[in-house]
């Protein structure tokens, strides 16, 4: 008797389900970053707006990367429905703290996928997700550094202007300084 399920897809049902959840999460992140960009634009933080537009685009690329993987493996990739996107925020600093929380949530979710893939001996998905594991190191670093700038520079006087200018310059060198 042919194995029709395996002939259709190499993804187990549970893996397909959690990858589709991750697709939704990345799409939701992209939408949140877009809302943050709009808020920054409305409030005169032009550089930060540019940073969030870029972040939004990146999250969409992440979503598509997983979406293509599910489809390529013969699975059913689900185009996500995005709701509950906050459109207003309490303040400049609040936005960056929220962005950091969002990145932490994404990291946790990716770790769970890797854990499940290993549990189910799905080495292809495990390998595929390693790119995201590395990506999250950078994403979290950048988001954490952005929040740090509020303490380092301070918000008084021209502080916010300076922070806004410094935001797009944050980059992660992958620990190169230790080499």
């Amino acid at each position: 008797m042919k194995d029709l399920v395996r002939m259709r897809t190499s993804l187990k049902e549970e893996i397909e389900r959690i990858l589709n959840e991750q697709i939704k999460m990345e799409a939701h992140s992209s939408a949140i970053y877009l809302a943050m960009a709009a808020w920054c634009d409305r409030n005169g933080f032009d550089y930060s707006a540019g940073y969030f537009y870029k972040q939004s685009e990146e999250e969409r690329k992440h979503m598509l990367k997983i979406f293509n993987y599910v489809s390529d493996m013969g699975g059913h990739a689900i185009s996500p429905e995005i709701t509950n996107v906050p459109q207003d925020f309490d303040g400049f600093r609040d936005i960056f703290e929220l962005a950091l929380q969002q990145e932490i949530a994404v990291t946790n979710s990716i770790n769970r996928i890797v854990g499940t893939a290993r549990q189910l001996n799905d080495f292809a998905t495990d390998q595929f997700m390693q790119w995201f594991v590395n990506e999250q190191i950078e994403e979290e670093y950048v988001a954490r550094r952005a929040v740090e700038l509020f303490d380092v520079i301070g918000e008084e006087g021209v502080g916010r202007y300076m922070i806004d200018k410094a935001i797009p310059k944050i980059s992660y060198d992958g620990g190169a300084e230790a080499e």
């Binding site: 008797m1 042919k2 194995d3 029709l4 399920v5 002939m7 059913h76």
Partner: protein, 117 residues
């Protein structure tokens, strides 16, 4: 599992039987008078549709509209019109079928390991 030509019986209950056809790579659902043949991806979609019906509402809502559920089988012209008992029996049939399909995958994995070593 008994073989009838290229059909392999997957699962049966009081209301129906499912088969796998290795010639067409399709799952055949015989449920009461209905007989539909689905590709594996359509079978899984159909199962999701059947599983997503809110049985609790069907039981407790007295409105006539909740007496039956109409579910179409993907890429067929057939509509399943199901009362509560039918729905539960169909769910049982599809769940049993899914279990056998997964069991088959597991056996294939183990069998391949045995052949290699």
């Amino acid at each position: 599992m008994s073989n009838t030509h290229s059909l392999t019986e997957l699962f049966a209950n009081a209301k129906g039987t499912t088969y796998q056809c290795d010639t067409t790579n399709r799952i055949i659902i015989q449920f009461g008078e209905a007989r539909v043949s689905l590709r594996i991806s359509d079978f899984l979609t159909f199962k999701k549709r059947v599983d997503s019906v809110d049985i609790h509402t069907m039981i407790f809502n007295t409105d006539d509209a909740y007496d039956v559920e109409v579910i179409d089988a993907p890429r067929t012209d057939y509509l399943f019109v199901l009362n509560l008992c039918d729905l539960i029996a169909l769910r049982d049939l599809l769940a049993g079928t899914r279990f056998v399909l997964d069991l088959n995958t597991l056996l294939h994995e183990r069998l391949c390991s045995t052949l290699v070593y």
